[in-house]
C-alpha cells in the first residue's frame, strides 16, 4: 500500500510541488539526451551508408576527446589541437575503411558488428597507451566555449539554473543535425550516401567508389564523435567511462530506428529525459543508480510493443 503510494502517487506530487526542480531535471535529461542523440547520430551515419552497426562509435568519442586534450597537454595550442584532432579522426576513418571495412565487405551484419567491437578494444588500448588511462579535464574555455551559468527566476516557484555549456551543446547539436541534413540533401556526396543506403550498385552509378564513400562517412562520424567528446568532456571529464555511457546510444537507436536522423534525436531525448526523471523520482525507491539500466529497459519495453522501432513500418515476413 505504502509502496504503491511511493511508486504511483508520491513522485507526481513532488513534481507538482517543485516544478522548477522538475524543469531542472527535465533540462538535465534533455542535455544528456542531446549527447546520446549525437552518439546515435554517429551510428546512424555509418549504418545508413554501409549497413555496419558501429559499436565503436562510443570509443571514437572518447578517442577524439582524448586526442584533443592530450595534444593540448603536450603544449599544442587549443585551436591547432582541434584541427589536429580532426585530422586524427580523418586518418582513423581512412584506416578503418582500408583495413576493416574493405576486407570485410559483404560479410553478414553480425561479423561486421564483431569487427567494430574489436575496433573498440583496439582503440581503448591505443588511447591508453598514447594518452594514459587517467581522466582528463576538457579544455572548455581554451576552445572558447562558454562556461558559467544563468539562473532563471520562476516567480515564487523557485529558479532553474542552465549551464551555458549545456546550451552550447544543444545549439551545436542542432547545428550539426542541420549541417548533416544539408549535407545529405544538397551535396553530391550526400546524395551518393543516400543512394548507398538504398543499394550499393546505385551508388556506383552516381560515380563515387564505395570505398571513398565509406571513408567519408567514417570521417563524418568522427567529426560528430569529436563534437560529442568535447561537449561531454566539458560536462564531466574525458575518460574511458564514457565508453560505457556511449552504449546508451543503442537503446536510443532502438527507439529511433537505425537509419533515421530525426529518430536518433527524438530517441535520444526520450531516453535522456526518461532516465533522468526516472532516476530522480523513482530511483530512490530502489536505492538509486537505476540510470545505468533504465535506458535499456525503456527500450526493451518499447520494443515489445513495436519491434520495428518508432519510425520503422510493419514487417511482413515472406517465404
Amino acid at each position: 500500500m505504502d509502496m504503491l503510494y511511493n511508486i504511483l502517487i508520491d513522485p507526481f506530487v513532488q513534481m507538482v510541488d517543485a516544478p522548477d526542480f522538475l524543469i531542472q531535471v527535465v533540462w538535465e535529461g534533455f542535455v544528456a539526451g542531446v549527447l546520446y542523440a549525437l552518439i546515435a547520430l554517429g551510428f546512424v551515419l555509418i549504418y545508413k551508408a554501409s549497413g555496419v552497426f558501429n559499436f565503436a562509435q562510443g570509443i571514437m568519442v572518447v578517442f577524439a576527446g582524448l586526442s584533443l586534450v592530450g595534444l593540448h597537454q603536450k603544449g599544442v595550442p587549443a585551436w591547432l589541437a582541434l584541427i589536429l584532432a580532426i585530422g586524427i579522426m580523418a586518418i582513423l576513418a581512412v584506416c578503418i575503411e582500408k583495413f576493416v571495412m574493405r576486407p570485410l565487405v559483404g560479410q553478414p551484419d553480425i561479423i561486421l558488428l564483431m569487427a567494430t567491437i574489436g575496433m573498440t578494444y583496439f582503440l581503448i588500448g591505443l588511447g591508453e597507451v598514447i594518452f594514459g588511462g587517467e581522466p582528463k579535464q576538457m579544455i572548455t574555455s581554451e576552445l572558447g566555449l562558454p562556461t558559467g551559468s544563468t539562473a532563471f527566476e520562476m516567480g515564487e516557484r523557485g529558479l532553474v539554473i542552465l549551464q551555458h555549456i549545456d546550451i552550447a551543446a544543444a545549439v551545436i547539436a542542432l547545428l550539426m543535425v542541420g549541417g548533416l541534413a544539408v549535407f545529405f540533401n544538397r551535396t553530391r556526396i550526400g546524395r551518393a550516401l543516400r543512394a548507398v543506403a538504398d543499394d550499393h550498385t546505385a551508388a556506383l552509378s552516381v560515380g563515387i567508389s564505395l570505398n571513398q564513400i565509406w571513408a567519408i562517412v567514417w570521417f563524418a562520424a568522427g567529426i560528430v564523435a569529436l563534437a560529442t567528446g568535447i561537449m561531454w568532456g566539458a560536462r564531466s571529464d574525458v575518460s574511458f567511462a564514457l565508453e560505457i555511457v556511449a552504449l546508451k546510444a543503442l537503446p536510443v537507436l532502438i527507439l529511433g530506428g537505425f537509419t533515421s536522423i530525426p529518430g536518433a534525436i527524438i530517441g535520444g531525448l526520450i531516453i535522456g529525459i526518461g532516465e533522468k526523471v526516472g532516476e530522480i523520482y523513482w530511483g530512490g525507491l530502489v536505492g538509486g543508480g537505476i540510470e545505468s539500466w533504465l535506458a535499456y529497459v525503456i527500450a526493451l519495453v518499447f520494443l515489445l510493443f513495436r519491434p520495428q522501432g518508432l519510425f520503422g513500418e510493419k514487417i511482413i515476413e515472406r517465404i
Binding site: 510493419k314 511482413i316 515476413e317 517465404i319
Partner: protein, 273 residues
C-alpha cells in the same frame, strides 16, 4: 526444465479415408495492409490426390500455400481440415497437424549435413526428455537410432546416399531441392505442399523429381499440393488443377479440361511456358 520439451505429437482426431476431402478452402481472402493477395478463393484437396495450383507470377500461389500451412491468416473465409473448421493457428501447429512443405527458394538449414537436415523433419515425432538427451542413453539414444533408420529409408528412397554426410551448403541446386523434399517426407505428412519443386532444374533433374513425386504419392499415399510453372510437368503429375490469376480463381478441374479453358489461355498469354 522438462516442460520446455513437452511433446507435440500428431493430432489423433478422425483419420480421413482416401477419396474424402482432406482440406477445404472456403471463400478465403487475404490482404497485406491495402494490398489484396488472395480474393475470395474456394477449392478443396482430396485425400490421396496430386493437386496443382498454377497461375502467372504474382497470382497469389505462394500466398495460398502460406495460408494452407498457417503462415498467413486470411481476413475472410474458412479453412476446413479433416472435416473440422480450422481456427487461427500458429504455423508450427499446422506441422503437427501433418502438413509439410518445401519452399520456392530452397530453405534448408545451411549449417547442417544432409542427414541432420532430414533428421530435423523427425523432430515432432521425438519426445525423449531433456535429461535423457544430455546423457544420450536410454530413450534418447533409442529414439535417435530409430529415427535415423527412418531417415535412412528416405535417403534410400530419394537415392541420395552419396551425399548423406555432406553439408547441404556444398550441394548443387538440384540436389538441395531433393534434400528439401526428403526433409518434408521425414515428417510423414498427410498433406505435402511443394512450392515450385522443379524451379531451375534441367530436364534430367525434372524427370527424376517428377518420378519421386509420383512415387511418394503412390508408395505412401501422401496427398500432394504443388505449385509449378512447367505446364508439361503439371499435366503429367496432377489429378486436378486450380488456376489462379491476380489472386482470383479462374479455373478448377482436371488438367486437360483446364488446359482448354479460354480464361486460362488468356491468363497465360505472353507468359512463356
Amino acid at each position: 526444465m522438462n516442460v520446455l520439451v513437452k511433446p507435440t505429437g500428431m493430432q489423433a482426431d478422425g483419420e480421413t479415408a482416401p477419396g474424402e476431402v482432406l482440406l477445404r478452402i472456403d471463400s478465403v481472402s487475404l490482404s497485406f495492409g491495402g494490398v489484396r493477395a488472395i480474393t475470395n478463393i474456394s477449392f478443396d484437396i482430396i485425400k490421396g490426390e496430386v493437386r496443382a495450383i498454377i497461375g502467372p507470377n504474382g497470382a497469389g500461389k505462394t500466398s495460398m500455400l502460406n495460408v494452407i500451412n498457417g503462415f498467413y491468416h486470411p481476413q475472410e473465409g474458412t479453412i476446413t481440415w479433416r472435416g473440422k473448421v480450422r481456427r487461427k493457428m500458429k504455423p508450427y501447429e499446422a506441422a503437427s497437424h501433418g502438413i509439410a512443405r518445401t519452399f520456392q527458394n530452397v530453405a534448408l538449414f545451411k549449417g547442417m549435413t544432409t542427414l541432420d537436415n532430414i533428421m530435423t523433419g523427425r523432430g515432432l515425432k521425438m519426445h525423449s526428455g531433456f535429461l535423457w538427451q544430455c546423457l544420450r542413453v536410454g530413450p534418447a539414444l533409442r529414439e535417435e537410432i530409430e529415427h535415423r533408420r527412418k531417415v535412412e529409408e528416405i535417403i534410400d528412397f530419394l537415392e541420395i546416399q552419396a551425399i548423406r554426410k555432406t553439408p547441404v551448403g556444398r550441394l548443387p541446386y538440384g540436389l538441395q531441392k531433393r534434400v528439401e523434399l526428403a526433409r518434408a517426407l521425414a515428417m510423414e505428412p498427410e498433406l505435402l505442399l511443394l512450392d515450385e519443386p522443379m524451379a531451375g532444374m534441367n530436364l534430367e533433374e525434372k524427370e527424376d523429381m517428377s518420378r519421386f513425386i509420383l512415387d511418394v504419392n503412390q508408395q505412401f499415399g501422401t496427398t500432394i499440393a504443388l505449385i509449378e510453372h512447367d505446364m508439361g510437368v503439371v499435366m503429367d503429375l496432377s489429378d486436378r488443377v486450380v488456376v489462379l490469376d491476380y489472386g482470383r480463381k479462374i479455373a478448377d478441374g482436371p488438367p486437360e479440361e483446364v488446359q482448354a479453358n479460354q480464361d486460362v489461355i488468356d491468363a497465360y498469354l505472353g507468359v512463356s511456358h
